[in-house]
C-alpha cells in the first residue's frame, strides 16, 4: 500500500524558475526510498510539499490516503516527520529538553510519557548529558542530533531526512544511518533526501531528480551503477563502482574483483 502518493505536482517559488515540474511518485509503506539530485533540483522543495510547508500550484499529495490540504495538514504531520539540514533552523526550545518536548506537546502526549520519551531518545542520540544545555553551547552536529531525537520521539510512520547528515561528523553520520536501518526494520518508511551516494546504498529504490523533474526512478542497484544518470544530476559513482566502471571501459575482465567492488560499495 502506498503511504505517499504524489501526482502531477508542480511548484514555482515567487518570481523564480519552476522548482518542481509535474512530478509523480509513489512510496510504499515500509519502503526506503532515497531522493537524489543536484543542488536546486527540487528535492528539498518536494520534502516541504509533502509535509505541507509549501503548497503546490498544481497536483495532489496524499499521505496514508489523506489528501493534503490546509484542514488535513495537522493529521499529515502526525504521520510524517522531517529532519532538516540546518539544525539552527529547527532548534525551537530554550534547552535541549524543551526542544525535544516541542513536537510532543503539539501531539498532546501525557506528561509522564513525554518525559520518558525525551530521556529515551536523548540517550539514543547521545545527548542525554546535555538535556539542560542551551543551543549556543552546542555545535551544529549536536543540535542536529537533538532535532533527530525530537522527530524520533514523535514516532511518525514516515521520516524524511532532508540532507540531515550534511553537518555531522563521520561517526555522527554513521549513527544516523544506523537509526535509519533500525527504524526501517521496525516498519518506518524512510526517505533520505541527499546527494551523498553513501546514504543511498541502503535504500530499496532511488529516485533521481534533475531540474525539477524525475530523471529516473529504479531499484537502487541499477541506479548506483548508472554513471550517466548520476552525472547528469551532478552526482558521482561511489568509488568502488567508479573503479568497476573504469575496468569495464578499459576491458579489464576480473569478475571476482568486480563482485568484491560491488560488495565494498554496499558497505559504504
Amino acid at each position: 500500500m502506498s503511504v505517499i502518493e504524489i501526482e502531477n505536482v508542480s511548484f514555482t517559488y515567487h518570481g523564480d524558475k519552476r522548482a518542481l515540474d509535474n512530478v509523480s511518485l509513489s512510496i510504499e509503506k515500509g519502503e526506503w526510498v532515497s531522493i537524489l539530485g543536484h543542488n536546486g533540483s527540487g528535492k528539498s522543495t518536494l520534502s516541504k510539499l509533502i509535509v505541507g510547508l509549501l503548497k503546490p500550484q498544481s497536483g495532489t499529495i496524499r499521505v496514508d490516503g489523506i489528501t493534503l490540504s490546509a484542514s488535513t495538514v495537522r493529521d499529515i504531520r502526525k504521520r510524517v516527520g522531517i529532519v532538516f539540514q540546518n539544525p539552527d533552523n529547527q532548534f525551537v526550545g530554550v534547552t535541549v529538553r524543551d526542544d525535544i518536548a516541542f513536537g510532543l506537546e503539539n501531539l498532546q502526549i501525557e506528561r509522564p510519557e513525554m518525559i520518558e520519551r525525551i530521556e529515551h531518545y536523548a540517550k539514543k542520540v547521545d545527548m542525554y548529558p546535555y538535556l539542560n544545555k542551551e543551543p549556543h553551547a552546542l555545535s551544529g552536529g549536536q543540535k542536529q542530533r537533538v532535532a533527530i531525537a525530537g522527530i524520533l520521539a514523535m514516532k511518525t510512520d514516515v521520516i524524511i531526512f532532508d540532507e540531515a547528515t550534511a553537518m555531522l561528523d563521520p561517526e555522527g553520520r554513521e549513527r544516523v544511518m544506523e537509526f535509519m536501518r533500525t527504524l526501517n526494520r521496525e516498519g518506518t518508511t524512510i526517505i533520505p533526501i541527499t546527494h551523498e551516494m553513501k546514504e543511498a546504498v541502503m535504500s530499496d529504490r532511488i529516485v533521481v531528480l534533475k531540474d525539477g523533474k524525475v530523471l529516473k526512478a529504479d531499484k537502487s542497484e541499477n541506479i548506483l551503477k548508472d554513471k550517466e544518470t548520476l552525472e547528469r544530476s551532478n552526482l558521482e559513482l561511489l568509488l568502488p563502482l567508479e573503479i568497476m566502471h573504469y575496468m569495464n571501459e578499459n576491458g579489464i575482465d576480473n569478475p571476482s574483483l568486480k563482485e568484491f567492488l560491488w560488495q565494498l560499495s554496499l558497505n559504504g
Binding site: Y13, N39, G40, Q85, M167, R173, L239, I243, Y246
Partner: protein
C-alpha cells in the same frame, strides 16, 4: 608569522553559569602565504571555536593570539585603541552557514557590501563582485537576482564570493562544501585550491570530509576535546593507530586501495591522493 596562538584556552559559560572548556592550551602558527590547511575533529571538538579565534571574533579566556602583529587577549580586550577591522579584512572567515548572512536585495550588492565597508570605492566593489561571482562558479546573470530565491548551494557560493571580494590574505572556511552536491563540492574545492596556488594565499578549511583532507591538504590540524592533537602532513595522519585513537574516518581512496591490495594480494607502489591516480595504478596492476 601571520597568526600565532600562544597557549590559548577558551571557556564558554552555560545556562547555570558553569564553565565549559572548548579550547585548552593551543599553541599554533599559521603563515601568511603558501599554506593549505584542513582542520578536522569530531562534532564539539572545538574546531569552529578555534577558527573564530583566527580573526579575533572570539577573545581567548587564556593565553594570546597574535594576528598580523595585533595581540588579542583577555587583558587587552578593554583597550580602546585595539582596531579589529584590519584584522577582519586580512583574515576572511566564512561561517558554517554563510547563507544566513545574505541580506541585500541583489547578489551583486551583497558581494560588494564587504569591500565597501572596508573603504573600497563603489566602482571597484562592483568590479570585484563581477570577478568573484565567476570565481565561485556562477555567472554574472546572478548579480541582479535576489539572494533569497537561490538554492542552498548557490547561496553558499554567493556568500563565499562576498568574503573573497574583501581580498583577505588568509581565508578561513568553516565547512564550506557541506550541503553541496558532488559536482559543486569538487568545483568549489578547486576554486579554493586555485586561490591558494595562483594568489599564494593561505587557506584553512574546516571539514569532516576526509577525502578533501587527503586529496588537497598540505597540513592537517586535528582537534580532540578542545586539544590540538595532530599538526602535520595528511599522509602520516591515517596510520592505523591514529585512526583508532582519534576515531578518524579513513578517506575512500585509502580505504578502497587497502581493500583491493588485500583482495588481490598485491602492494600498490607510490601515493594515490585522487581517484584518477588510484584507477591508473589498479589498471597497471591488473594488466
Amino acid at each position: 608569522m601571520a597568526i600565532k596562538f600562544e597557549r590559548v584556552g577558551y571557556e564558554y559559560q552555560d545556562i547555570d553559569g558553569k564553565g565549559y572548556l572548548a579550547l585548552a592550551d593551543i599553541t599554533l602558527n599559521i603563515n601568511k602565504t603558501g599554506e593549505f590547511i584542513t582542520l578536522i575533529g569530531e562534532t564539539g571538538s572545538g574546531k569552529s571555536t578555534l577558527a573564530q579565534h583566527m580573526n579575533a571574533l572570539l577573545t581567548p579566556t587564556e593565553g594570546r593570539v597574535h594576528i598580523f602583529g595585533v595581540k588579542i587577549s583577555r587583558e587587552g580586550k578593554k583597550d580602546k585603541n585595539l582596531k579589529l577591522n584590519p584584522i577582519r579584512q586580512k583574515v576572511g572567515l566564512v561561517f558554517q552557514f554563510p547563507e544566513y548572512q545574505l541580506f541585500e536585495e541583489t547578489v551583486g550588492n551583497d558581494i560588494a557590501f564587504g569591500p565597501k565597508n572596508f573603504g573600497v570605492s563603489e566602482k571597484e566593489a562592483e568590479e570585484r563582485a563581477k570577478k568573484m561571482i565567476n570565481i565561485v562558479g556562477l555567472d554574472e546573470s546572478y548579480l541582479s537576482r535576489s539572494p533569497f530565491n537561490l538554492s542552498g548551494g548557490e547561496k553558499k557560493r554567493v556568500s563565499i564570493a562576498g568574503i573573497l571580494a574583501m581580498e583577505p590574505d588568509i581565508l578561513v572556511l568553516d565547512e564550506p562544501t557541506s550541503g553541496l552536491d558532488p559536482l559543486g563540492r569538487n568545483a568549489l574545492l578547486k576554486v579554493f585550491y586555485e586561490i591558494h596556488q595562483k594568489l599564494d594565499k593561505t587557506v584553512v578549511i574546516i571539514t569532516h570530509d576526509m577525502n578533501t583532507v587527503y586529496e588537497y591538504a598540505k597540513r592537517v590540524l586535528v582537534m580532540r576535546e578542545g586539544n590540538l592533537v595532530y599538526d602535520g602532513a595528511p599522509t602520516q595522519l591515517f596510520s592505523r593507530k591514529n585512526v583508532k585513537n582519534w576515531n578518524l574516518d579513513v578517506p575512500d581512496i585509502l580505504k578502497v586501495r587497502r581493500a583491493i591490495e588485500e583482495k588481490l594480494g598485491i602492494t600498490i607502489e607510490g601515493e594515490t591522493r585522487n581517484k584518477a591516480d588510484l584507477m591508473a595504478k589498479i589498471g597497471e596492476a591488473l594488466r
